[in-house]
Amino acid sequence: MHHEEVFTDRNVSESSAYYYVDIENYPTTGWDKFKQVVKRTFSGELFVGLWVVLREMIKFDIHTVQYPLEKLPIGPRYRAVHKLLRLWESGYERCIGCGLCEKICISDCIRMDTRIDENSRKEVTEYSINLGRCIFCGYCAEVCPELAIVHGQRYENASEQRAHFVIKDDMLTPLDMLKAGEQAEYPGFGAIIPGSDASVKKTPLAY
């Protein structure tokens, strides 16, 4: 049912948009009032109104989006509930536990716990975002050096429990989804610009 509507240019410009409505003075004499009534009665404006609504009914150009069943497309850079991504090759979490997102978060809603695991690798044990506090500013995604935390498209975050807003497992890409190749890279804040490989210089080890 839904379709993209092409809007005409609705921007206000000096040349086209504003004009003064030519309002005639109200008639004062009885004869003038009578003439106005007759003119308005027989000008057929009522039938114009009838035609407009009937035309819309015949065209049947329904603009309703039946929301839970259909959804309007949202922009790829939309900042909805966060996602934690995994590395494509190994399936490990991308997060290296650097804590930059925790540091930069202006509403102070990110908390993480880390430890050094038996491979001397830093591991993130706890990671939580209190979405009840989050203002979806996008700083965490922008600051993340590993493209690990990004914003997703999931904007329906009503819940019965406030605790539901902080679960890491809901944000982390499930392993089966990763194997199916369904993990999408985020094109928004903090993402790699297309063609950025060419601008990277090799570290000059020759020194």
């Binding site: 009534v37 609504v53 819309e56 603009h63």
Partner: protein
């Protein structure tokens, strides 16, 4: 009195009550759908296929809702007012021929409860009594908006009865009878015999007044949502409010029947084709009630009174005088 006659009459009454109660429900469905389509919406979609069972859902809701009687209302009058509206709407249907007479198993059925010789007068009189529903309900509600609505309904109904009466006078002078069957038979000769051709002014006047009598949108002042909430219905809930609703929609159907029979030939010569034509005409007038609601704005009460007394009534009187002069010579 014949026992068969009594049984037949009771059967007819039951059939009319059932059909028009159901039609009032379906009327709300069509109203929502038509208004929605005209505003590029879908209307009810979720209960049943295309939302058709929305009527049943609304009915269950109205029947099971608590019947609230507020503390300061005048209780007996508050309780009886919706019954007056629904009852008078259905009482008016007694003199309306809904269908030409037909024969079932050798038994001739007249689909009219009482073919009284003052049919149209009876219909108008009972519709006039219908005024007491909004008036008493509004006055008994102990609510200022309801009171405004009661005052408006009294002013509008009484004023526009003048228009309906005077507008009908001219066709009735030509027909020479008040029976709706006689009026119908007067136009039995086909489309050229319709009264609308000889009385176009009376037709338009009666049509305009029908909007005021049923309280529909250009004249929807008795329950104008944006000014006085639901008017006389503000304090009502559950089935009492539902009876106001059924009365309003039944009235719309009955006044559509009256317009079709008096001005547009009714069921014509009484064949099946004529009967189907009658239903089509009634459907059009009912649709027009919904159509105007989507298209036209409401007018102010003072404009409504101005329209009635300074415009429509003089035209109606001139129409009656003109008809009389033409008939005399």
């Amino acid at each position: 009195m014949d026992v068969a006659f009594i049984i037949e009459t009771i059967a007819k009454i039951v059939v009319i009550l059932l059909i028009f109660s159901a039609l009032a429900g379906l009327g709300t469905y069509f109203e929502r759908k038509v208004l929605a389509f005209m505003q590029r919406r879908l209307g009810p979609m979720h209960v049943g296929p295309f939302g058709l069972l929305q009527v049943a859902a609304d009915g269950i809701k109205l029947f099971t809702k608590e019947d609230i009687i507020p503390q300061n209302v005048v209780k007996p009058i508050f309780k009886i007012a919706p019954i007056i509206t629904a009852a008078t709407a259905f009482m008016a249907s007694a003199a309306i021929p809904f269908w030409p007479q037909f024969t079932v198993f050798g038994y001739t059925v007249h689909p009219i409860v009482a073919d009284i010789n003052v049919g149209i007068l009876y219909v108008l009189a009972i519709m006039a009594i219908g005024l007491y529903g909004p008036l008493l309900g509004g006055m008994a509600s102990a609510n200022k908006w309801s009171l405004i609505s009661a005052a408006r309904s009294a002013a509008i109904f009484i004023s526009y009865e003048v228009i309906t009466g005077l507008a009908l006078l001219a066709p009735l002078m030509m027909v020479g009878s008040l029976s709706l069957i006689d009026i119908n038979n007067y136009q039995a000769g086909g489309i050229t015999h319709w009264i609308v051709w000889s009385q176009p002014v009376a037709f338009v006047l009666f049509w305009i007044a029908a909007f005021a009598e049923t309280g529909r949108t250009p004249f929807h002042l008795v329950a104008n949502d944006h000014e006085i909430i639901d008017g006389f219905g503000t304090e009502y809930s559950g089935m009492r409010w539902g009876m106001f609703f059924i009365g309003e929609y039944a009235n719309m159907f009955f006044i559509s029947f009256v317009i079709s029979i008096v001005f547009l030939g009714g069921f014509g010569d009484g064949t099946i084709a004529g009967a189907i034509q009658l239903l089509l005409k009634v459907s059009f007038f009912f649709f027009f009630f919904l159509w105007t609601r989507a298209a036209w704005p409401d007018i102010r009460p003072d404009q409504l009174m101005w329209l009635c007394w300074k415009v429509l009534m003089p035209i109606a009187v001139l129409n009656v005088v003109g008809t009389g002069i033409v008939m005399m010579f």
